[in-house]
């Protein structure tokens, strides 16, 4: 395994590579078509190099463990706004997640609907392209339109455009108080409508999820609010009114530990941990979510399903090797968990229409002319 300790060393290794490289942070997100190649780990590019709590800015090496960043931020009562999912439970890995891996996969959690995805918190990147050039884009300030926004392009490019060496992030203050309004017993159709009503209210919802089978075995719809104590109390009461018309019993959870545990359960898709089967992640127009699930269920009655992002994100556990993209929908589906054989036979990422595929392939050819960075991972 190659494990550079500096960006210069990383650049030399990429420049000197003669065959495909498998780019790895902590190796906790083995997602995508399997890549054959020597492992190049960014784990040696570790450490927070700048943290200004008063400017809500943090800069860290790509190999910095997420846990280290979260601890650093917590010491100033701050956090990563986009709430990155920990994939280890779902995928069964036990590595150390790195911030570079989070960025390369554009991993976000339930708060994505309020504050945006990882890419929206990403202020700047340093990376080494496929030719071995050390490059930078963006910076460490929140507003920056100087030149093309390659920062967004690098987020979610899964190491196929370059190897990240450093990332710069906007961070967020932790809220003083949290609350979760729970609606019990709703159908999936009604749950999506209820979440839509909450998200279309002025009450600044930071999470909207629905589990057809919750932790206690019954359907539960969860609406999260965060902020000052006075705000959370006020908005919990208002949202209780909004949600009462959907037919389910409504309760409010104000214990911070229980609220946190509930949202970690959603974020990490715990309902699918320690199970067998392929796991698909649908990003859809929220109002179409329950219809997509109903159509899938018509062919496969035993689905396990979890709705997040007010219905905009649907996790579906299917029998192994079955193509979940046979239903019609607006959006895209990713095969997040599947055997190597399935990941070779079914496209892991949604196949793009020809003109977009041409643009994507053109970009890869420019950033990685020799085709050595995670070749084929994204299809």
């Amino acid at each position: 395994m190659m494990r550079p300790k500096s960006e210069a060393e990383l650049a030399d290794m990429v420049a000197g590579a003669t065959a495909a490289l498998r780019i790895q942070g902590g190796g906790t997100r083995d997602i995508g078509a399997p890549v054959a190649g020597a492992v190049l780990s960014t784990g040696g590019l570790s450490g927070v190099s700048l943290y200004e709590p008063g400017a809500l800015t943090l800069v860290a090496g790509a190999g910095t463990p997420v846990a280290e960043i979260e601890a650093t931020l917590a010491s100033e009562k701050q956090r990563l706004a986009f709430e990155p999912m920990d994939h280890r439970g779902l995928l069964g890995g036990d590595g150390v997640s790195t911030i570079g891996g989070v960025v390369a996969a554009n991993v976000s959690g339930p708060r994505r609907i309020q504050v945006g995805a990882c890419r929206d918190s990403l202020l700047g990147v340093r990376f080494v392209d496929g030719a071995g050039r050390a490059l930078k884009n963006g910076g460490r300030v929140m507003k920056n339109v100087t030149g093309y926004d390659l920062v967004k392009l690098m987020a979610g490019s899964w190491g196929t455009l370059g190897v990240l060496s450093e990332v710069s992030l906007k961070v967020q203050a932790m809220p003083e108080a949290v609350g979760c309004v729970l609606v019990h017993g709703l159908s999936e159709v009604d749950a999506v409508s209820a979440m839509s009503a909450a998200l279309g209210s002025p009450y600044d919802v930071s999470g909207a999820a629905h589990a057809p089978v919750g932790a206690d075995g019954h359907p539960v719809t969860m609406i999260r609010i965060e902020g000052l104590e006075a705000s959370v109390a006020y908005r919990a009461a208002k949202l209780t009114d909004v949600l009462s018309s959907f037919g389910g019993e409504v309760s409010v959870e104000r214990d911070p530990d229980r609220v946190a545990a509930g949202w970690t359960w959603v974020r990490d898709v715990a309902v699918m941990h320690n199970t067998v089967g392929d796991v698909w992640r649908f990003s859809v127009k929220p109002s179409e979510a329950s219809g997509v699930v109903a159509n899938l269920r018509a062919a496969q009655p035993d689905l396990v399903v979890l709705y997040d992002w007010g219905g905009g994100l649907v996790w579906v556990k299917m029998p192994e090797g079955v193509d979940a993209r046979q239903v019609d929908f607006h959006g895209h589906a990713t095969l997040v968990r599947g055997s190597e054989a399935t990941r070779k036979s079914l496209a892991v990422f949604q196949p793009e229409p020809a003109p977009l595929a041409a643009l994507s392939n053109g970009l890869r050819a420019q950033f990685d002319p020799r085709g050595i960075l995670n070749p084929g991972l994204m299809g």
Partner: protein
């Protein structure tokens, strides 16, 4: 400002190009008489002007595609134009270019409240997007100060911001999908009423690409329910340092104001003389606005005022009515007008890390003395986006050039302290030649490589963003 010499071959075939454009568009949509093309000779960066070869005003995505096919086949450069409010010269033509204006494409195609999105044609103005959903209680968050006039097309091209982006983000954070026409005339759909990209984030790089990658004709935008209310508080301090520390402390406290605006003494004085908003005569002034219900506003303001008091403010003024709120905002909103009353001015747009604020303001003061030109600072303090306004006299020979040199020094200073050349206006022609101060040659090369993919012939808005010397081989290779 140097622009590439127009291509004589293109100038020579004007009649043929115009005839082909007239074949694919209604007569009234093709403007080619010199008396009429003059209307498109500049955008809001009025110091530089050049009438285009022709201007076209298509009414549909199909017409845009037809225009681009003609221009692509004939090798004619195309300069896309929204409402022409760019302060950076983003829509400035060259003599051999066709201006492609989307001003006739203003329809709302779909307002979807259940999914909190709106689909519009991109010639629609920013404010009228909010206007279309206002009755249902919704709004479109990015609010550039030109929002009454500026078009969504230009907002996407420049990734526009506004005063409220501290809480709601800039255009790229609120843009979900586009219909775009490539220079070849191919219509592509990217993204839609769902979140995140399926593959590479093409939308992310298109937003902010200053009309160099394609012409965006339709957009799906995120809309939000309006907050129940909003209220500002005004604070005066006797030094920039202290005001800067107060901003930091507010941000650290966990309260997220919707806006934190900063004005320095020269700006406060000019504004007072012009608008008489009743601002205190002090070194630095902050306007902090929060949102929510009455109870929520009160709770947030109580915290903010407590933080402010620890910094010994010379003035603390909490709004108690809509009228008082309007008075607090009056001075800030008249700042540009007030400076314009004194003289011509140039508005800069660099961003700095908030912690560098006192140093940067001190250096700007020193440079002001060296150049002999006055400067006032208005500032989105929460996110470090500065708007120094340099006063000069356009009728005095040499003053514009002196002002530009001063502006360039300020922008280099922004880069030097860890910031950037432009926070929300874009590079255009204005900051094109300063890009080498922020980026190494290879950093610029990889950006230009993106344009190579989308527009291999470099026909879309070609003389912008990148220093002419850096882009010359690419522009010439295909000319």
């Amino acid at each position: 400002m140097e622009m590439p010499a127009p291509n004589p071959e293109v100038l020579a075939k004007k009649a043929r190009v115009v005839a082909q454009l007239q074949d694919v568009l209604p007569r009234s949509a093709v403007i080619f008489e010199e008396s009429e093309t003059r209307a498109y000779e500049c955008d809001a960066l009025t110091a530089y002007r050049c009438p285009p070869l022709a201007a076209v005003l298509p009414s549909s995505t199909q017409e845009v595609a037809a225009v681009l096919k003609v221009c692509h086949a004939e090798g004619v450069p195309v300069v896309p134009r929204g409402a022409g409010t760019s302060l950076a010269g983003g829509a400035m033509p060259t003599a051999d270019s066709v201006i492609l204006g989307v001003a006739r494409m203003t329809e709302v195609l779909e307002a979807d409240y259940a999914n909190r999105t709106i689909r519009v044609q991109t010639g629609r103005t920013n404010l009228s997007v909010s206007g279309a959903v206002e009755e249902e209680g919704f709004f479109y968050a990015p609010d550039p100060s030109s929002q009454l006039a500026c078009a969504i097309a230009g907002n996407i091209a420049m990734n526009s911001g506004g005063a409220h982006c501290l809480k709601y983000g800039v255009t790229t954070n609120n843009l979900m999908g586009v219909t775009m026409v490539t220079m070849e005339g191919e219509i592509v759909e990217i993204g839609g009423a769902y979140l995140d990209a399926s593959g590479l984030d093409l939308l992310g790089v298109i937003c902010g690409s200053e009309g160099q990658l394609g012409v965006v004709t339709e957009a799906t935008l995120r809309i939000l329910h309006k907050p129940e209310g909003a209220r500002p508080v005004l604070m005066g301090f006797d030094s920039n340092e202290v005001a800067g520390e107060c901003v930091s402390d507010i941000i650290k406290s966990g309260i997220l104001p919707v806006a934190i605006e900063f004005m320095d003494r020269p700006c406060i004085r000019a504004t007072e003389a012009f608008a008489g908003a009743g601002y205190p005569d002090c070194e630095a002034l902050l306007i902090v606005e929060v949102e929510g219900s009455e109870e929520e506003i009160a709770a947030q303001l109580e915290r903010i005022l407590a933080i402010a008091r620890t910094h010994n403010p010379v003035e603390l003024r909490e709004s108690r009515s809509a009228d008082e709120s309007a008075r607090i905002w009056l001075g800030r909103k008249s700042a540009f007008g007030a400076m314009g009353q004194i003289n011509d001015y140039m508005c800069l747009d660099g961003t700095i890390p908030v912690s560098q604020l006192p140093y940067v303001l001190r250096r700007i003061g020193e440079l002001s003395k060296e150049y002999g030109l006055d400067v006032g600072n208005v500032f989105h303090a929460g996110d470090g986006n500065m708007h120094p306004l340099i006063l000069f006299d356009a009728n005095k020979p040499g003053d514009l050039e002196k002002c530009e040199a001063f502006g360039a020094d300020i922008l280099r200073l922004c880069v030097e302290v860890g910031g950037c050349l432009t926070g929300e206006h874009g590079v255009g022609i204005e900051k094109r030649d300063l890009m080498v101060d922020q980026y190494a040659p290879a950093d610029l090369d990889i950006q230009m490589a993106v344009k190579d993919v989308f527009d291999p012939k470099w026909l879309l808005n070609p003389a912008k963003v990148f220093p002419l010397a850096s882009s010359e081989t690419r522009r010439m290779a295909v000319a």
